[in-house]
Amino acid sequence: MEQRVDMNKLRSSPAGHSPPPYEIVEHTADWAVRVRGENFTVLLHNAAVAMNMLLVGPETVTGREEVRRLSLSAYDRESMLVEWLGELAYLAETEGLIFSEYHFDEVTPEQVRVTITGGPAPVLHKHIKAVTYHNLEVLETENGLETTIVFDV
């Protein structure tokens, strides 16, 4: 069973008023994305979608045969973001898997339990060496939360 994920659709907001869930930010040597979400759970979701965009491009068919349960620990929202994306980047590097569905069972800055569903990526466009803490800060905005994440590629 396959699911087509059109990530271009996710880039623009449906109503066209609120800012998009994520956008790519210029960075001289690496890749950066600005991510938004109405709360921390949505921010984690949108950050994963944004990273998938870098890894496999805008329109990619991914399988749904892989289901994993993750339990992540961190110190605060920023370190949890790094932990979450780092785990997904690790699965992409070591197993060639891309996960596009996320069912969060528990979300706090210190603890996340999540079930992720995905499958093998036909082609990985980019190798993410690491998710960095460079100027990483989860900011409160009038629409929720916003952060900019720099990936070492």
């Binding site: 960075h27 040597a29 370190s79 790094v82 690790y90 060639g96 960095t132 460079h134 590629v153």
Partner: protein
């Protein structure tokens, strides 16, 4: 925001931001550049990042930037600081994720006319034999014990297993093995990432090149390395792969917690650090050295594959296809060294993030063959343009903690490069220049287009003019292999 007017010019190639520019600076920041490179660096956040490194505890004299500086994460790429032992800091983010990313230069006994007709075959065979690209595994399958052996013995593991000669190791920084590495300080995940990747190039800006010597500037040093106009050489640019990336990731996370314990205030969370004398600092140093050893071994395995490939393609076509080692250097590393500071000998931890060690003549750590000319410094340019062979100088010892530049330095984002250049067109343009390109990804090729980089010749003029390295030879590519 750093402005042009914030700098005072110290000499023709040195610009300085005084320590009172920002209240948290402990030392001034110095940038080796000319006017044009300085203007260019104002276009991204690299100089703010340089100022941030001047705030780190224990930093001595100056936070330094080389002329190939560009924006990184935490440290700028092209940044150098030395912190005083025992309580000066060590910063995993300051070394970066690709620990001991570096360059190896291999020599041959061939002139370009000898192999011109075989170049396309050679490029194809190198691409086939040397694993590269996203997610590509190597030919080796290491056991858990073997990955520990690699981590603690570096290129010696390759020697023991028939992938190196004693001369290869002698002509490698640290002889291919940094002392003090401890595999028990490296996570299982780092080892698991590293096990299938030994002997692989990876992607991004990593490459193998076949080059030809274009011009010689220092006949004695060039002769010592076997370089003369028309002579064929090869370069390898890569690092510690997932092993090193994970070591950095693990310790940046750990240090997020301990940095507060040591009362250190940070300008950027990626600069997390701990005193080198602390248990955490010592653990990171031992793990970083293990990753450095992995990288030395990685480049050694690739050198062995290149040596075999030259023999496979050129045997019967040339008299002697043997490929020998000229030198191998790291350009992402923290190293404990002794330097003279204000007339006293001081033990320091030199962080070189996108910068090359450049020890001058007479240094006892250099192999005997190079001791009187200074350490070979290998500076790859952008794809399709020149690269340089330099030597370290007394000037680099006095001014930059024995450091100099590491490359051309980016000026354009990867995204913009891809919008500006198509990979297939770039490959064709390079082919018209006589450069045979093999690449696993055309968008990846476009990201590394020469237009995205500074002019490496200008960068070299600065380090040569400033006396922090000396020109030996300029080499130009004839074949490029990329992941």
């Amino acid at each position: 925001m750093v402005k042009r007017s914030d700098f005072k010019q110290v000499d023709p190639y040195t610009y300085e931001i005084p320590a009172d520019f920002r209240p948290d600076m402990r030392v001034p920041a110095r940038f080796y550049a000319d006017g044009q490179l300085l203007e260019g660096a104002l276009g991204d956040k690299s100089l703010e990042q340089l100022v941030n490194t001047a705030t780190l505890p224990g930093v001595l004299k100056y936070a330094l930037a080389m002329p190939d500086i560009h924006q990184g994460y935490g440290f700028p790429i092209g940044g150098v600081i030395a912190t005083e032992l025992p309580d000066g800091i060590i910063s995993p983010g300051g070394v970066g994720y690709d620990i001991n990313c570096g360059v190896r230069l291999l020599g041959t006994h061939l002139d370009i006319e000898d192999i011109e007709s075989a170049l396309d075959d050679l490029a194809g065979a190198l691409f086939a034999n040397c694993p590269s690209g996203v997610g590509r595994s190597g030919h080796l399958r290491l056991s858990a014990a073997e990955i520990d052996d690699v981590a603690e013995n570096g290129a010696r593991w390759a020697l023991k297993n028939g992938y190196a000669t004693a001369a290869d190791l002698e002509r490698t920084e640290e002889n291919g093995c940094v002392a003090g590495a401890d595999a028990t300080k490296v996570s299982k995940r780092a080892k698991d990432r590293g096990r299938p990747q030994l002997g692989t190039l990876g992607a991004g800006n990593h490459f193998i090149e076949v080059d030809v010597v274009d011009e010689v500037f220092d006949a004695q040093a060039a002769d010592r390395m076997g370089l003369s106009p028309g002579r064929v050489v090869a370069q390898i640019h890569c690092g510690s792969r997932g092993f090193g990336h994970q070591v950095c990731t693990d310790y940046v996370k750990l240090f997020q917690k301990v940095v507060h314990h040591y009362g250190i205030k940070l300008a950027d969370r990626e600069l997390v650090c701990a005193p080198l004398s602390s248990p955490e600092g010592q653990d990171y140093l031992a793990a970083m050295r293990a990753a450095a050893n992995y990288a030395f071994c990685n480049r050694q395995i690739i050198a062995h594959l290149i040596r075999d490939t030259f023999a496979e393609v050129l045997s019967g076509r040339v008299d002697n296809p043997y490929v020998y080692q000229i030198y191998d250097i790291a350009h992402n590393m923290a190293k404990v060294e002794e330097h003279e500071v204000d007339g006293r000998k001081v033990q320091v931890c030199v962080h070189r993030k996108g910068a090359t060690r450049a020890f001058g003549p007479g240094s006892p750590v250099l192999p005997p063959v190079y001791r009187d000319i200074g350490q070979p410094v290998l500076v790859p340019g952008s794809m399709g343009t020149a690269s340089w062979v330099l030597v370290g100088t007394e000037g680099s010892m006095q001014r930059t903690f024995g450091s100099t530049c590491h490359g051309a330095g980016r000026t354009m984002s990867r995204r913009k490069a891809k919008r500006t250049v198509r990979g297939t067109e770039l490959r064709e343009a390079l082919a018209e220049q006589g450069v045979h390109v093999r690449a696993g990804s055309m968008p990846g090729l476009a990201e590394e287009a020469p237009i995205a980089y500074k002019d490496v010749d200008r960068v070299i003029e600065v380090v040569h003019g400033a006396g922090i390295a000396r020109k030996v030879a300029r080499i130009v590519p004839v074949a490029v292999i990329k992941g």
